[in-house]
């Protein structure tokens, strides 16, 4: 299962952090700091997987943003790697050509989208259309 998802820029500013395991605040800060340090200096030619404590982080870089998912050691790495890409495609679709600023000013929307995409640390919906439509429904309610 996914333990947590982080979106961080190269400077280490967190743009989204979602935890599916109960961590204390201090522990969350530590995790964010460590994961950033772990992925930021990796060569683009390296694998997208890196061991983190007793788990592993599957990460992918899009421009200046790192999307990282911490999953179990036994989980299927490539499936989660493409899960990240699917999430990015959904964001891209929703914001039409997403950039970091969109995610900064609309961070609350990003949380909403994520909740339609992943729940309880597992994939909930893989249809881009279903998620975009659902977001439309929700926006009408506001």
């Amino acid at each position: 299962m996914i333990r947590f998802i982080l979106l961080q820029n190269r400077q280490g500013k967190t743009r989204l952090a979602k935890y599916y395991v109960p961590l204390e605040d201090s522990e969350k800060h530590k995790v964010e700091y460590e994961v950033h340090r772990l992925v930021v200096n990796r060569d683009p030619k390296f694998t997208n997987f890196v061991e983190f404590r007793t788990h592993k982080v599957i990460y992918r870089r899009y421009a200046g943003l790192f999307f990282s998912m911490c999953v179990d050691i036994t989980d299927n790495e490539l499936a989660y790697l493409e899960c990240i890409h699917l999430f990015v495609e959904i964001l891209d679709h929703f914001f039409s050509n997403v950039c970091e600023l969109d995610l900064v000013f609309n961070f609350h929307k990003v949380y909403l989208i994520l909740d339609e995409f992943i729940l309880a640390g597992e994939l909930q919906e893989t249809s881009k259309r279903a998620i975009i439509e659902r977001m439309g429904e929700l926006e009408k309610l506001e």
């Binding site: 967190t14 743009r15 299927n76 729940l119």
Partner: protein, 1041 residues
């Protein structure tokens, strides 16, 4: 995209972005937090819109890494707001800001429940999402039934049902009891027919979790999974939106194949055929394409298919296809694929016998050990570690040593640990092992844990042949200019113990040894100084004739350290100084260290400790646990030192001095004595690895699987000369002694463990064998099944024994209704500490047990142990290794002490003699080591006849206190299957019991019989106590008889 509708929020975010430095940002944040705090204090004037805005701001601040320690209450209370926008914010921010342990969540549990059972679909979704993300145990207990209802409801839209499925998964993980298996397997089967792929994806995750805990309950779902896979593999009826770069939902495919890996096999031939067709298609049809995403997605499916094929133990052809694919992958440039190739090869090693094929790729794997990416190097290291065996150990270990030179710090410790373990497990000869460890210390001293050098000391101590070599090596290293401190420790230790063996070599005189070691003294830390002081004392003791100059030098050092700031060193210095003036007595006090009792390698334990935690138990691990052979680590490897004679050195040799002088003699508490403490920590019992072959002399006894017929033959042999007249039934019950006593209930129970295991949960270790190992060892595994491991550790002092039972729960769920009861035989007084009712998940509970031995008996105490796990009640009756030899302490007697005793005991029934036939034909040295394992000290030289053997021991019980026992064996070189056994002691029952006990170990008899003779309430005295015959004129002892 336009900015969000909340202007205040956007302004705040812009402000933060415009801060030039961290300090400004902090000021701005503090100002905002102050503002929010005051506004919250005066809630009345706060509009719902403002509340919402502030809560979002708090989340933003929190995300930036600032502490937000107020406002939680306000956030949580928004969940109860009447309108959607506020409610939504309440739910979302709560699940980001708080975790499941937060008390505020309790306040809203009712609101959440009302939202779930209410009619508003949007509210249902919000509530399910929050519970799914941060729901804890309390939510689990109160909400599970409602969530289940939503999942199976036909009136709910998919958007609710998929959330309900994953929400239920969360609740199930928090408390597995919330899903009742009986009803659920049918419902699951129905749910797997779901047409909406979003719902099916969520349901499949729930299903994986359920089957990982209990696959048997969900057999009915298996064909459905196969059908889903078929449908996707053929791309039948898959809506466009659920294909990803042309591939039907790779995630659903992966999840479905994952679920199938939890079923032990697939028996239905139809389903099996269909599944293999799908798998074959995936294996053959996955090509490398240009598009990265498509490539990743198809390989995600391919790797999962590989895992499933391995699990299913497919036909040979398909397996070799898999190995071939993996072989291809580990050679490609694409790093992700290469990584996964290496990873899956390691997994493959765990389940199938492909070692030889994988070995062909060794060179390629070693290349990956030098890859710039640490992730790949780690996988390569793991794989090399897994594929290592006697044939390639030398090459692989040397490769690892070489890599150690360049490896980054993050990997060095793991690397050196692995190299040390491999060297120990597969050493072609022991000198190579010593070479490797010394090289390890030399190259990566900082990363070599103490366990590693303790281990090498143990090996050298227990293997005499190795001692001169190790000492010489240590001496060589000391010549190096810059030496790691660990190397100083190990060299000094080895040279202190064995330096005198080198005395004739150049540069190795005591004086020179001292000088070169003493060179290091000024630069080492306190713990090393302590070792050096001991070394000096030993050098001094070995310098014969004494060298006054050297003595003076060493004494000066002792004198100097007498006022050292560290107490330990001070004490050593004072004591060594005093001792070294005692002359000859010094040699006794500082005698060579006794052999170490054999123990499981602490290193292996350490390597295993690195256990991972995963949401679902790893399918592959489950599987290898189910295989009773448990060949994961070392079980089927030859003992480290390979040769049989050498292995005897590692046997538990209890030197008298260990027991007798330990307390009276402080100097015995030298650093090496600390080693057993380090390694012998109770946790060690948990270790799954057993070095059985080395330790257990008894393992030479035939396993219990002998034919009944041959048993009968043996009995005939046995009983004949003993001339025991008894009813046949009695003989059957109790063949060894032929006594018709089986009234003791304990006796029955003791036997029951061997056959009467009707439990559905079966032990995964040989309980019988474990018992026998523990009879000669004081710690180890007593029992293990898929749920629990019971370890045991014992300490014996005179007629008292202190045992600790370690109950280790292997599951992620608790073991309930745990009960343990001791059924003591009449000769033991036992006291078991209270046993907790529950063993928490993955926890270990220790239960001390005190034993007092009242008198001699071969009867065995039984542990009646039960627990429930899930629906199964497990009850086992285990014999406890509280056997006669535990109350024996070997003692060495001089001829002057021995013969008067031997003579004095020449009384009927106190000294008993018997001709034993049907003896295992062992050479005398083996009998001697058997005796040592029974705590009988063999006294060489007391009997002139080389075919005979004399041993002495002290027996402790409450009635006899310490009582001397003398044993003599006369073998017949013409016929090794018979011998004459004489046992003498001051107590007739003791004499009889001890004689029978020794006999049991000498006679070649299937273990089931030999080990469980219930003891007579009134022990009859042995009919075999025939007057001694004098047909052995040459022997001095015979004359005395």
């Amino acid at each position: 995209m336009a900015l969000s509708g909340m202007r205040g929020l956007s302004v705040f975010i812009s402000d933060i972005r415009n801060c030039h430095n961290k300090e400004q940002e902090r000021l701005r944040v503090d100002k905002e937090l102050g503002n929010i705090r005051t506004r919250f204090k005066n809630e009345k004037g706060l509009s719902p819109y403002e509340k919402k805005k502030y809560v979002w701001k708090m989340l933003y601040i929190y995300m930036l890494g600032y502490d937000v320690d107020f406002g939680h209450m306000e956030t949580v209370s928004l969940i109860s707001a009447p309108k959607y926008p506020e409610k939504q914010v309440g739910y979302i921010v709560t699940s980001c800001l708080l975790n499941e342990n937060n008390d505020f969540l309790r306040m809203v549990i009712n609101t959440v429940r009302n939202d779930i059972i209410g009619r508003n679909e949007t509210y249902q979704c919000l509530a399910l999402t929050m519970v799914g993300n941060i729901g804890g145990k309390e939510f689990s207990e109160s909400l599970a039934p409602d969530v289940q209802k939503l999942l199976i409801s036909s009136s709910c839209r998919p958007v609710v049902r998929k959330k309900a499925a994953l929400c239920l998964l969360r609740l199930y993980r928090k408390n597995p009891d919330v899903v009742n298996i009986d009803g659920w397997s049918d419902r699951m089967a129905q749910l797997l027919d779901e047409r909406d792929l979003g719902v099916l994806t969520s349901v499949m995750s729930l299903f994986v979790s359920l089957v990982s805990n209990n696959a048997e309950a969900y057999w009915n779902c298996l064909p459905k999974c196969v059908r889903i896979l078929e449908r996707m593999a053929r791309n039948q009826d898959i809506p466009q939106e659920y294909t990803y770069y042309g591939i039907p939902s790779p995630w659903l495919q992966v999840k479905t194949m994952r679920a199938l890996q939890y079923f032990p096999t697939i028996e239905d031939p139809g389903a099996r055929r269909a599944l293999f067709e799908v798998l074959q298609r995936i294996l053959m049809g996955t090509d490398v394409v240009k598009n990265v995403n498509k490539n990743n997605a198809s390989h995600a499916v391919l790797f999962e298919a590989l895992a499933l094929v391995m699990h299913l133990d497919a036909e040979k052809e398909m397996m070799s296809q898999c190995v071939a694919l993996l072989g291809k992958f580990i050679a490609v440039r694409e790093p992700n694929i290469r990584y996964l190739g290496l990873e899956n090869m390691s997994r493959m090693l765990l389940v199938t016998d492909v070692q030889d094929i994988i070995k062909r790729h060794q060179a390629q794997i070693i290349t990956s050990l030098k890859d710039p990416d640490i992730s790949i190097r780690r996988r390569a290291l793991d794989l090399l570690y897994g594929m290592c065996d006697v044939t390639n150990a030398k090459e692989i270990v040397e490769e690892l040593l070489q890599y150690l030179n360049t490896a980054e710090f993050a990997m060095r410790e793991e690397l050196s640990l692995k190299a040390a373990i491999l060297a120990e497990k597969f050493a072609p000869d022991l000198s190579w092992y010593v070479d490797v460890i010394l090289q390890l210390i030399d190259k990566a001293g900082d990363f070599v844990s103490d366990d590693i050098w303790y281990r090498v000391v143990q090996f050298v101590t227990n293997n005499e042949d190795l001692q001169p070599y190790a000492a010489a090596k240590a001496r060589e290293y000391l010549d190096k200019p810059a030496l790691h401190e660990t190397m100083v420790k190990v060299s000094a230790y080895l040279l202190g113990e064995y330096g005198h063996l080198l005395a004739r070599r150049p540069g190795c005189s005591p004086k020179e040894l001292f000088a070169i070691i003493n060179d290091k003294l000024p630069t080492v830390s306190t713990s090393t100084v302590a070792i050096l002081l001991s070394t000096y004392a030993k050098i001094l003791m070995h310098t014969q004739p004494p060298d006054v100059g050297l003595q003076q030098q060493i004494l000066t050092i002792f004198k100097k350290y007498e006022s050292y700031i560290d107490v330990e060193i001070q004490q050593r210095a004072v004591e060594y100084f005093e001792l070294s003036r005692k002359g000859a007595a010094l040699a006794d006090v500082l005698a060579e260290m006794p052999k170490f009792p054999e123990r499981e390698s602490a290193l292996l334990k350490k390597a295993e400790d690195a256990e991972v935690d995963t949401a679902e138990q790893s399918a592959i691990k489950l599987r290898s646990q189910q295989q009773t052979s448990s060949a994961i680590v070392v079980a089927d490897q030859p003992p480290v030192n390979g040769s049989v004679p050498a292995s005897n050195h590692l046997t538990l040799v209890k030197m008298p001095s260990q027991n007798i002088t330990e307390e009276s003699n402080v100097t015995y508490e030298e650093p090496p004595v600390e080693i057993p403490k380090e390694n012998g920590a109770p946790v060690e019992v948990e270790s799954k690895v057993e070095n059985i072959p080395e330790t257990n002399i008894e393992s030479k006894v035939e396993p219990p699987a002998a034919h009944p017929a041959s048993q009968a033959d043996l009995l005939a042999d046995l009983l004949g000369p003993l001339a025991i007249e008894g009813p046949p039934a009695a003989v059957e019950q109790n063949p060894v002694q032929g006594l018709e006593t089986n009234q003791s209930p304990v006796g029955d129970l003791a036997l029951a463990t061997l056959e009467d295991q009707s439990n559905s949960v079966q032990p995964i270790v040989n309980v019988e064998e474990k018992f026998h190992i523990l009879c000669s060892k004081d710690s180890g595994v007593l029992y293990e099944d898929p749920h629990i491991q019971i370890g045991l550790k014992a300490e014996w002092r005179a007629h008292h024994g202190r045992l600790v039972l370690f109950l280790g729960n292997k599951n992620t769920a608790p073991l309930l209704s745990v009960q343990a009861l001791i059924l003591p035989p009449s000769h033991l007084k036992t006291e078991l500490s209270s046993v907790p009712d529950t063993v928490p998940p993955r926890a270990q509970v220790q239960i001390p047990l005190e034993v007092v031995n009242l008198r001699a008996s071969r009867d065995v105490a039984v542990l009646d142990f039960s627990y429930t796990f899930g629906t199964s009640l497990v009850n086992v009756k285990l014999r406890l290794p509280v056997v006669l030899n535990k109350f024996l302490q070997p003692i060495t007697l001089s001829p002057e002490e021995f013969f008067p005793q031997w003579k004095a005991l020449n009384v009927q029934n106190l000294k008993v003699q018997e001709v034993v036939k049907g003896v295992k034909p062992l050479p005398l040295p083996e009998i001697a080591s058997l005796f040592m394992s029974l705590h009988l000290a063999v006294a060489p030289g007391l009997d002139n006849n080389l075919n005979n053997l004399v041993a002495c021991t002290t027996f402790f019980s409450e009635t006899t206190r310490a009582m001397l026992c003398l044993v003599r064996i006369e073998t017949d070189p013409q016929d090794r299957t018979q011998l004459r056994l004489t046992v003498a002691s001051g107590d007739q029952y003791l004499t009889f019991e001890l004689k029978e006990y020794i006999k049991e170990h000498l006679i070649d008899i299937p273990r089931v019989q030999a080990a469980s003779p219930p003891v007579p309430v009134q022990p009859q005295l042995p009919p075999a106590a025939v007057p001694a015959t004098y047909n052995d004129p040459g022997a001095m002892l015979a004359g005395l008889l």
